[in-house]
Symmetry: C2
Subunit: 175 residues, 2 copies
DNA sequence: TATTGTTATACTCTATAACTATA
DNA sequence: TATAGTTATAGAGTATAACAATA
């Protein structure tokens, strides 16, 4: 578990308005927002999504969401759609279109389950495995670029703090 | 600027599939995802959004986005819509509906600008100021609850790392 | 010409509810 | 009864393109 070292004490910022920020070329105030975690989370997610779009998506026409699904299917061959939905914490009905898209692009197949005629077993095709390898390489490069402003330790610490907040244990930091 | 102290070296996790995770009650694998910052960002944002919905939104019928806009308007009286759009990094056309909603609820007004007949000056109403005070109190409580699993230093460190990533300077940590 | 606010439109992501075929 | 997948539908949230009024 990474820990954090305080160096500079964050001076409490003035929470009120900067008199006349509205007209001139002055900088405008964000009020309490800079102290709000949710604000920084959203800003960071928008930034990383745009970086992903310019790098990974530009080359491979994929979204972070679809690539995540593809990775989970690859890591769990034969997974059913309902269990995939649970894993990604989205509704079963949302998964249908995701799987439609990945199957439509020839990256995965829906196979009939040998044990349950209602269920589909999801598996990557050969093409899907090749595409995943390419996409993962691009994605790791994109993440490296995006986090270039952080040290490796800071990056690990950040992931660790986020993992603690969203509650899923982070296998990468189990000692 | 907060720094980070390494304590446990994160052992590189196996990136490949866990043989037969698909059928039984076994735990399923997330592949490379636990090493991916974007994945943890999204997960955390979903978690904090749900917490916000159960706490702040349940009491005041507001979204994080609308509350953020309200705070920026409050902090910059007389702000125009285009500058608000720039500040929040969304399109001007997106702002229109946001302002419509806030105005429709009586929280802000569009006033004609004295200097530019095209432009609207956005201002909080008395009711808007009162609502903002209530909402901010709830929001700060919500953030405290959500980050209860972190120490105050860890929370500051997290915000600092995120602020560095999305590039906006974080006024709360200027020494 | 450029900018402010606006409208019409569309796209993505997501959820709810109801359906079918199994179990 | 309950579950797996599906469909129809709707609601956010966002963007693009074009427009009128004004700068």
């Amino acid at each position: 578990m990474a820990r954090v070292l305080k160096t500079a004490d964050a001076a409490a910022p003035a929470a009120d308005a900067p008199a006349a920020a509205a007209q001139g070329g002055q900088e405008l105030s964000y009020g309490l927002l800079p102290q709000v975690l949710g604000y920084h989370l959203r800003r960071t997610q928008v930034a990383i999504f745009r970086h992903f779009s310019r790098t990974v998506a530009a080359a491979e026409d994929i979204t972070p969401g679809l690539l995540g699904m593809l990775q989970v299917i690859a890591a769990n061959p034969g997974l059913g759609q309902s269990r995939l939905a649970e894993a990604m914490e989205v509704d079963r009905s949302t998964i249908v279109k995701v799987v439609d898209q990945l199957e439509g692009r020839g990256l995965i197949v829906r196979q009939p389950s040998p044990h349950d005629k209602r269920s589909h077993c999801l598996r990557l095709t050969d093409e899907g495995r090749a595409a995943l390898r390419r996409m993962q390489a691009l994605m790791l490069q994109h993440e490296d670029e995006f986090t270039r402003v952080l040290t490796a330790e800071e990056r690990r610490c950040l992931i660790d703090l986020l993992a603690r907040l969203h509650g899923r244990t982070n296998p990468a930091s189990r000692s």
